[in-house]
């Protein structure tokens, strides 16, 4: 069964149609890539799926559940998590607190916060343990008590992923997770994302410009250009698609530079 179904999704900004009746589907347990030249509408599409922006038309479904009109926090509770293109961790908080914030919808303390009974303390202990597990998974356990803003860039990206995992998602949207990373960091990220799929059985939808990463990681790709879907298929199919070659290199070229080598 399809995990994410996007149908006829459209978003207009005044005269500009940033996303133009896009359809695609993400299958559970896969890594689905969303690629396209700058300004193709990838981030807008992410914002529509996560509920940060409202669509002008079209629908989004997570499993059987229509997400249309739901605010971001409801979508999170239903199993959608995301990271941002320009890192948006809570920099004043510690690394551990950042991940615990991701657990927000999975915790239920209310009056216990003031009464501090055994129920509250047990829940808070569980939350801490869970957050530590996730930090260990992404390799940041030693930095648990560091101020998040003081982490090196690559670690902040990994923290953002750990925080998204804390939401206990069925689908994680990753907006350019490798942006600004050096080759070593990108390589480590590739390993981490593979483990998310293979060890945790998670489904990932990612926007990424790093083609070697995309081609070696993704099970399926959707290509956007000027807000429209121009191709959809396996990396090999997409790479050979004439419309994709034209979008990236213009007309008259016969070879796509992205086909050179994979990351690992």
């Amino acid at each position: 069964m399809t995990l994410l179904t996007v149908q006829g999704l459209t978003r207009r900004f005044q005269g500009l149609v940033a996303v133009d009746s896009v359809d695609f589907a993400v299958q559970p347990g896969t890594v689905h890539g969303l690629i396209g030249p700058n300004g193709a509408g990838k981030t807008t599409l992410f914002n529509l799926v996560s509920g940060v922006l409202a669509p002008s038309a079209g629908s989004v479904r997570l499993g059987d559940q229509p997400l249309d009109g739901l605010p971001p926090y409801r979508r999170t509770a239903l199993g959608l998590a995301r990271t941002f293109q320009n890192i948006r961790i809570f920099s004043e908080m510690t690394v551990l607190e950042n991940v615990m914030t991701g657990l927000h919808t999975r915790l239920s303390a209310t009056w216990g916060i003031l009464l501090r009974g055994p129920g509250f303390r047990a829940e808070e202990r569980r939350a801490k343990a869970k957050a530590r597990d996730l930090l260990a998974f992404v390799g940041l356990i030693d930095a648990a008590d560091t101020r998040a803003g003081d982490l090196p860039y690559g670690d902040q990206r990994r923290l953002e992923i750990a925080r998204a995992l804390a939401c206990e998602p069925r689908l994680v949207l990753l907006d350019e997770p490798a942006a600004g990373m050096n080759p070593a960091e990108t390589h480590a990220l590739l390993g981490l994302l593979r483990r998310l799929r293979d060890e945790r059985g998670l489904t990932l939808l990612l926007v990424e410009h790093d083609m070697p990463l995309v081609m070696s990681l993704c099970d399926r790709l959707t290509v956007l250009n000027f807000g429209r879907r121009i191709a959809d298929g396996t990396p090999a199919e997409v790479r050979a698609h004439p419309a994709v070659i034209e979008a990236y290199l213009g007309t008259g070229s016969h070879e796509v530079s992205v086909s050179r080598g994979a990351a690992s």
Binding site: Y73, I89, E97, G102, A109, R121
Partner: protein, 279 residues
């Protein structure tokens, strides 16, 4: 020794009351700032609480506990009503809307003959006093510290740092904003009621724009890293004019200069230490 303490209390009675009341007001604006909103309506909520409590005491002679409860509930209801439309606004726009609320309440008190109109309400019975004021302050300090060290405290700080990211983490933003405003207005109302019952007189102009800015400056000076910070800010700002009294005519100037310098050189407040957000 006991006599000396007694003398000290009688001499500085009103200052001791003011420090406690302003501490509660500082906490009330902290609650709003802690979710990343900016309210200049705290003085109005304080005024509504003060008039509610004072009217109940003067006209109906209700027990002080009932007056206190009503002075929390009435401003909270007002916040609930205005909160719906105004909390769609954020940042400076919410501040402007709350200034409007402050002016409206001031004009209502000014023209409400039953509540004394421009003359205000006088001969309010003396109730509560130091014990009630500092008891309330202590309860609120402990309560807000416990809230900060929980999932709610994490959600609040997340909202203040990056609202969109907090929403994506599953924080119900509209509800948090509304609850913060309602709780903060109830706190300001209680502060108004406590202060009305130790000063015997209240007037419509005590709760205007100037008071709202002063309350905001408590948290600006103190900081909002922990509930203790805004209370420290309000204590300093309440004491400062007294300490500077020997400067006579230069007093207000130096007072202002100290605030400007503190904000310029300590943008996170004089107590920037941040409380842990885990329970």
């Amino acid at each position: 020794m006991w006599d000396a303490l007694d003398d000290f209390y009688w001499t500085y009675q009103s200052l001791i009351h003011a420090i406690g009341v302003n501490g509660i007001l500082a906490l009330s604006v902290y609650v709003v700032l802690a979710v990343g909103q900016l309210s200049l309506g705290q003085a109005a909520f304080m005024g509504v609480g003060a008039y509610t409590g004072a009217l109940l005491s003067v006209k109906f002679g209700v027990p002080f506990g009932v007056a206190m409860l009503a002075s929390a509930v009435v401003p909270a209801l007002l916040a609930l009503v205005v909160g719906g439309p105004t909390l769609r606004l954020t940042g400076v726009y919410l501040a402007i809307a709350t200034i409007g609320l402050g002016e409206i309440t001031r004009i209502v008190f000014l023209n409400w003959d039953y509540a004394g109109g421009a003359l205000g309400l006088s001969s309010i019975p003396e109730r509560g006093g130091v014990v009630a004021i500092y008891g309330t302050l202590a309860v609120l300090l402990v309560g807000l510290t416990l809230v900060a060290r929980s999932r709610v405290g994490r959600a609040m700080e997340a909202m203040r740092e990056d609202e969109a990211a907090a929403g994506v983490m599953g924080v119900n933003l509209p509800r948090y904003r509304l609850v913060a405003l309602v709780v903060s207005s109830a706190m300001a109302g209680v502060a108004g009621c406590l202060s009305a019952h130790v000063s015997s007189f209240i007037g419509p102009n005590e709760y205007g724009f100037e008071a709202a800015v002063t309350i905001l400056s408590y948290a600006l000076l103190g900081g909002i890293g922990s509930p203790l910070a805004p209370v420290l800010g309000s204590t300093i700002l309440t004491l400062l004019p007294e300490v500077l009294r020997p400067l006579a005519d230069f007093r207000l100037m130096v007072n202002g200069l100290i605030i400007v310098l503190a904000v310029l050189f300590m943008p996170r407040g004089i107590l920037p230490w941040r409380i842990a957000r885990t329970g």
